[in-house]
Symmetry: C2
Subunit: 418 residues, 2 copies
């Protein structure tokens, strides 16, 4: 089954909103082996939208549309659906109750334009919205599926998970071949070095596909195998994974699409260890990443963001002489910060970062991108130096990633130096 | 001039990477009044790519492609360009020097596949890459522009800013009409309430366009005016802005696409005020947002993430009796946290948040989404209660936004209660 995802909205085209919806839908469809052949973004323009509906339905089995279903005048998707399928709007009692309850629960007064959201095209089955007011639409015609969903990401994603995916799964024909994929997530090694260390790819892959996907979090290796036999496909994938691991295994932190903070959190939780974090240059990013994880209070105790030198001395007991002798961005200060946060928090592990994120703050011997990361547990207290790039936000993310990688390596007994 | 942006890569289609490149390019092109009519994402598949090149060049004056220019075997864009334009690869000496310097500067050994990146299609002008190794390509043919750029966001964005935009600006014909846009960014008011308060839109807009764009950060109001006379277009926009301000002005935090943390940071810096932040439920997010701003050390002194109750008492001097009487998520504790962080940091302002982000942690009278935000300056020490939704990450972002909005309102003398 082939699919096309259409995102509607001027705000996406002119870059005021990033298209996370297409990514989410692409992932969900791929997970059930529906082939997303193309995605597109079109403006809030009836003519363009109708043309795109036609072109996509001609070429695909499934078309999913998001956006333009809100209550205000600039939301025109419903109008386009009516025109395209030559149908009309009829009131839907269930949806009207949903909308009324939504407002009641929040203690807000319902408005006329919200009530109108309970009008649904006659040809469509309404997809109820548990997180907002605009219902989605599910239309089946001539063996094709057309679905329209609101553009608000958490409303759309709930409808995809609870309605669209189960319905599509019922329609997927018996498989004549299997596509298996695995992602090996690496960090701390550049793309070209990784490529070199893997050696002869034809020899390694024997017909399978391997993609290198670099980002500020590291390089993702995506292996794809197609085979008529499901078990054989799985065997080929795990054979390739083992070969890759034998060459660059220490850099691989996940083969299950877990991000690094989740990997670290899982190990800490399993071993009942706690961590505290002292951040200077990352300004709270590391703590924010760790506390994005549900259940983080089990392993995350506290964090201190010591942006000023005074706060490093007062809160973390960093030695003032060390600060003035080596400067705030130094291995010595990073080590003392890690020691300090661990001591005052009474946690098993202490992590600390200090660096120059740019664009300002550099000196002759300390360029933008220079970072020192300190780490202490009950056995060692150490620090490591890094040189990242010139972009402030990327530097914050790379620093956080490198710091979490130090924790992972320490927990798994992998040496810090690569 | 019409443009189409093509993003190449399976990882985008299957949702493993979010398409931020198309958003960035869409924004940059719109800023110089180039009309982005559509964007699309296609797989790493030669046939599909070549078909898309053709369709887009037929319909548009400008086609910008990103992705698939890396050094590894799965990068096929350059190959497609050669086929499409019936040209060949030739070595480019400047680019080769760039690549060699790139590796030298980082102290890394250059590899053969990196050297090959200095091969550029004969028909193209090479776009040099100051942040990576893959050059871009600029091709002009039959009055149309075709450009291909690497997919790594910070490499692509630099090439767009320093090469593509200036070149395109030279080609833009004299304008026969002007499109003026302004975004009024609101927070703390739901979309439908905003819509109601604005009253009769036809009366308000008189032919101009108004879009409502909701997100977890608030509702963006985008006003668009087209007119043959530039000054008149500007006047119409500012008239509409004034009318909207007279109705919902207190909720508008920016008309210049500044996010809320930037607005707060700017006011703090202008008034030479400092702030410290105590976070429980947001786990560092507020501090992270504030320190994303270059120059934040001028106003941001320190932050403490008191995830455990012990840390609230030890570091912020929250009263243990208050904690056990009212619980950690209460107006009283939020107020004491704000008072505590302000006192130990010696800053002008103190901000504190405590809440239940979910999915766990709720009790009978304290549901997921309940948040208390405390704020203190030299005159007041107050706290306010909020009830957000059920999604952990959205709750963190909404809490951070509401907290920063309390700071903004306090700085501008707007009452906290709406």
């Amino acid at each position: 089954m082939n699919a096309h995802v259409i995102t509607i909205g001027d705000e996406i085209l002119i870059g005021q909103t990033i298209n996370t919806n297409a990514a989410f839908i692409g992932e969900q469809l791929s997970n059930i082996s529906i082939n997303v052949r193309k995605t597109s973004v079109v403006p809030d323009d009836e003519e363009v939208i109708l043309k795109e509906f036609k072109a996509c339905l001609d070429d695909n089995d499934v078309v999913i549309v998001t956006g333009g279903l809100g209550p205000t005048h600039d939301d025109i998707t419903r109008k386009c659906v009516i025109k395209f399928f030559h149908t009309e709007l009829i009131p839907n009692q269930e949806v009207l109750e949903d909308v009324k309850n939504f407002f009641k629960k929040r203690g807000r007064k319902i408005t006329k334009i919200n009530e109108d959201q309970a009008l649904v095209p006659k040809i469509a089955e309404a997809i109820r919205n548990s997180r907002g007011t605009a219902p989605g639409m599910w239309i089946e015609k001539e063996n094709k599926v057309f679905a329209a969903l609101p553009g608000v990401p958490h409303e759309m994603s709930e409808m995809i998970r609870s309605f669209i995916i189960p319905r599509l799964q019922e329609k997927i024909p018996e498989k004549d071949f299997y596509v298996k994929r695995i992602n090996l997530l690496t960090t701390g090694i550049p793309e070209s070095t990784l490529f070199e260390r893997l050696g002869d790819l034809d020899e390694l892959l024997k017909g399978a596909k391997l993609a290198f996907l670099p980002s500020q979090f590291g390089v993702k290796l995506r292996i794809t195998v197609q085979d008529k036999d499901e078990e054989r496909a799985n065997n080929i994938i795990s054979e390739i994974e083992q070969k890759i691991r034998s060459k660059v295994g220490r850099y691989i932190f996940s083969h299950q699409d877990e991000n690094l903070e989740n990997v670290v959190a899982r190990i800490l939780t399993e071993r009942e260890l706690t961590i505290s974090v002292a951040e200077s240059c990352t300004g709270g990013l590391i703590s924010n990443m760790l506390t994005n994880i549900s259940g983080s209070s089990k392993f995350y105790e506290r964090g201190i963001i010591t942006y000023s030198n005074a706060s490093k001395v007062e809160l973390l007991k960093v030695n003032e002489d060390t600060l003035s002798k080596y400067g705030a961005v130094s291995l010595e200060v990073a080590r003392q910060m890690a020691e300090g946060i661990r001591a005052i928090s009474g946690t098993d592990l202490g992590l600390a970062v200090t660096g120059i994120m740019g664009p300002t703050g550099a000196s002759v011997d300390k360029p933008v991108g220079l970072v020192c990361i300190g780490f202490c547990d009950d056995k060692v207290c150490t620090a490591k130096k890094f040189l990242f790039g010139e972009d402030r936000l990327l530097n914050k993310q790379r620093t956080a990633q490198a710091a979490l990688e130090m924790v992972r390596r320490s927990l798994l007994g992998i040496p810090f130096d690569d």
